[in-house]
Symmetry: C3
Subunit: 357 residues, 3 copies
């Protein structure tokens, strides 16, 4: 009881502070909800919603129909109310309603309402109103698409190619540490790399995730050796392919966009002897650039592989192999345990097939 | 007795089938020989041979004099009869007789008749009649010859050199597996490489053969992972040089020609810092191309060595080190067991000395 | 007694042989000194010294004042006498006197007379009279100075750069073996490299010297595998920096000048992706050239490091990392113990800071 009083007080302060105020019925609903009385909250919200010019209340009603809180679950009613809010052109609630409709059509609330084109349309309308989270949802609705790119006309002067490529491509390669719950708490269990292929998703090696755990990347905003919580990004594993040793990750943080590379060179155009560059975190050494040539083109268990002399090591797994023009040739996956540099990358055609499956 | 009857029947069928037929005395000789009665066979053959227009019988007589079967051994008589066949211009037996005369003069039947120029002449006459086995015998009569080549005028555009070199040179490098008779049967005991230097012969590293065994290469005619018997080539070890770690191999199969590289760059023209390419089977990875530079020129136990950063590993032994123009610089032999790429190739001057010895 | 007689005889022979002769009092002093009678030697020398035209005697007097032999120690008197000899313009003794004055002002005989500019002046006057040992003393009076050099205008044709760089830079990189007194006598305890940065001094890695011992380099004057005593050079450790893993060495032999490299590229101009060359003695392989690129720029414990793919190994420590134009980028220090080439060099800015401290 004490806790609820405190919340109500806080809530009152907040409402005043944020200058919301206004509709007394809406506020009564809000107070009831905070007090845990969903039925009363729904009743108040519904009353407030009926006055057409109060989209926030309508949005709450839609939410409660969707969740079945304070009323029976009714996705049809939720859609109907969200539609009304969406059309309201209210700068705050209209994009949110489009987002909610997009999530319903994406299938988040049951396959009965699944309709991908409708979802895309809703996310697009939301994004058009400046909601970047909807841009992300729109992008995530379809698999990442890789572009086959032909050679650029202009070449860097000798000695400059690698410098330019690193400046251009290093930002799209991330060092990944997988944390798992061990006896001593969350502990790093493997280290590798990931190459971002659109603003929200990255490819990595399946074997890094094989034993479970949460993939995390660290993006220091300062030069300190000290890592702050805001520098740590969590990733979700969307799908995996053990045979091809591939996994698709999506960045958890909806407010963040990745540097990415989505131009590729298909396997059939890769030539033994051509110059390549690898970027990854061999032995944990973040954003390490190495160079070499294509040593051979091989197929192992039906998976097309590019063999290369570019040095990689544990920690390079999931990193990127580029051609001299910065196009993705493959995902660095493993080395042969022999003296020298005999390393392999999964061809981008395999990545394309994996994404299309 | 039953078996002989069967053979005679088979033989009659064969003769009919092949449309040989004709001379009854020759057939009687053939039957006697199959029946194991060499004396009677010789007598029949000799009778048939006397009619000058029957070279096949003359050839058999010559063979029997050479082997001392059905008559006393008499190489002089054999030569005399082979001569007659050779001059007969019979499209089948004349080249065979030239071949036999070549083998006699090569010394295969005693040093008394050894006469290399005469052997070369006979193989040449045989080869001129379209017998490819004689081309091979003629080539094998003299040691492989390596050509010192000066630099080509036209250079590949940067980035293209390695691609071109691989396309041109990879076919002349073979992966070698040495099989030895162990308790469990024929088992692979070492893996390495060999560089073909003429259509029938290749250089490899002595240390691969040190423990004995049969060197074998596999040339898949199809893309299957399954290897068929026809894909497997056996090699004979012609000579070895433990000090230089070199061995000369000749391909067993007389009907097969090798892709080869016989242009070399002499040691005195090799420069520390120049670009090099290695092709071999490091860790068994067939036709792997690696690149690097010449790190140093050294002499060890009187053997001239080219030190290089081009990655090699076990399995690269016996492979080829090329300069940027595809000339042989050395035979990759070993690496130093330290982190990084510190590898050695035996200079081609040592190969020349080995071949000339 | 017998031994002294022998010495006197020898001395007489020597004097005659060298054509010194002349002043009988000087000779008496010399004989007394050899006989171990410093007091009498000093008295004779002093008498001879008073005749102004006998600088050798004056020099001896100065020496004996400096050492306090045959008279009481008196650096002031020594300076006074050395001055007189220095001004004598005697071709043999004048430069020696300048050298002695330089050593006194350098602080070798107590801080009371320490005066670096005066020492430099004396060494300069000595060197001007053709005494190369004084050139060395003059150079050693100040820390080695490294020159920041901008890029040269003309570039080598592709493929030639490494060849030229090696020819130009390999002579300034020395293989160092550290010998320590073990039970079995003087034994090599570590092997590494050193890069000469002026005619008498070189930089190496501190960790090679960490356990003590005498650093030695071998410079074979002939192609024999046999090393002669004259081929062995000893080095003194002048100062060390464990944090930066650096040490400054000076060559013991005053009559020898080193090939050296003193042009550097500062850390801030080094770019990830640029071509680099390492020269050192990986695994003891003297003057081994390797190439690679800059993989990353890192700071570890406040020390700026250049990460590179150029292969190095134990024995490369203390060697040189050059850019494509032969400027020093760093002192190769260590590799990461992982498959492939992930190596580090201490940036030249750290070397400059170390020298300036």
């Amino acid at each position: 009881m004490d806790r609820i009083s405190l919340l109500l007080t806080l809530c009152a302060l907040l409402l005043t502070g944020c200058g919301l105020g206004g509709d007394a019925r809406y506020q009564a609903g809000y107070a009831a909800r905070l007090a845990g009385d969903d039925d009363r909250a729904f009743a108040h919200y519904q009353e407030a919603a009926r006055s057409n010019d109060y989209p926030e209340a309508q949005y709450r009603v839609a939410e409660m129909f969707l969740a079945g809180r304070g009323t029976s679950q009714d996705t049809g009613q939720a859609i109907s109310w969200f539609r009304q809010v969406a059309e309201s052109r209210d700068p705050v609630w209209s994009p949110q309603a489009h987002r909610q409709l997009g999530l319903i059509y994406r299938g988040d609330h049951g396959r009965a309402y699944l309709d991908r084109p409708a979802a895309a349309e809703q996310f697009r309308l939301c994004a058009e109103q400046g909601e970047t989270a909807c841009t992300r949802l729109l992008v995530l609705l379809t698999p990442p698409s890789l572009q086959v790119s032909s050679a650029s006309v202009e070449a860097s002067p000798p000695g400059q190619a690698a410098v330019d490529l690193y400046a251009r491509r290093a930002p799209s390669v991330y060092k990944i540490v997988v944390y798992a719950q061990l006896d001593a708490g969350l502990e790093p269990t493997s280290v590798g790399s990931a190459i971002a292929i659109d603003p929200y998703r990255a490819i990595t090696s399946y074997h890094l995730l094989q034993a479970g755990g949460i993939p995390v990347s660290i993006d220091r905003r300062n030069d300190n050796e000290y890592v702050r919580e805001a520098d740590v990004q969590q990733w979700q594993v969307v799908k995996v392919d053990p045979r091809r040793d591939l996994a698709l990750l999506v960045l958890d943080d909806p407010g963040r966009q990745l540097s990415f590379t989505n131009t590729i060179k298909p396997y059939e155009r890769v030539r033994v002897g051509e110059k390549v560059f690898a970027i990854g975190a061999p032995a944990g050494l973040e954003k390490t650039l190495t160079e070499g040539i294509v040593s051979a083109l091989r197929t192992e268990n039906g998976v097309r592989l590019v063999q290369t002399t570019a040095p990689i090591s544990y920690g390079s797994s999931g990193g990127a192999l580029f051609d001299a023009e910065g196009r993705l040739l493959g995902i660095t996956t493993k080395g042969v345990q022999a003296w020298g540099n005999f390393n392999f990358a999964v061809a981008m055609d395999e990545v394309q097939a994996f994404l299309a499956e």
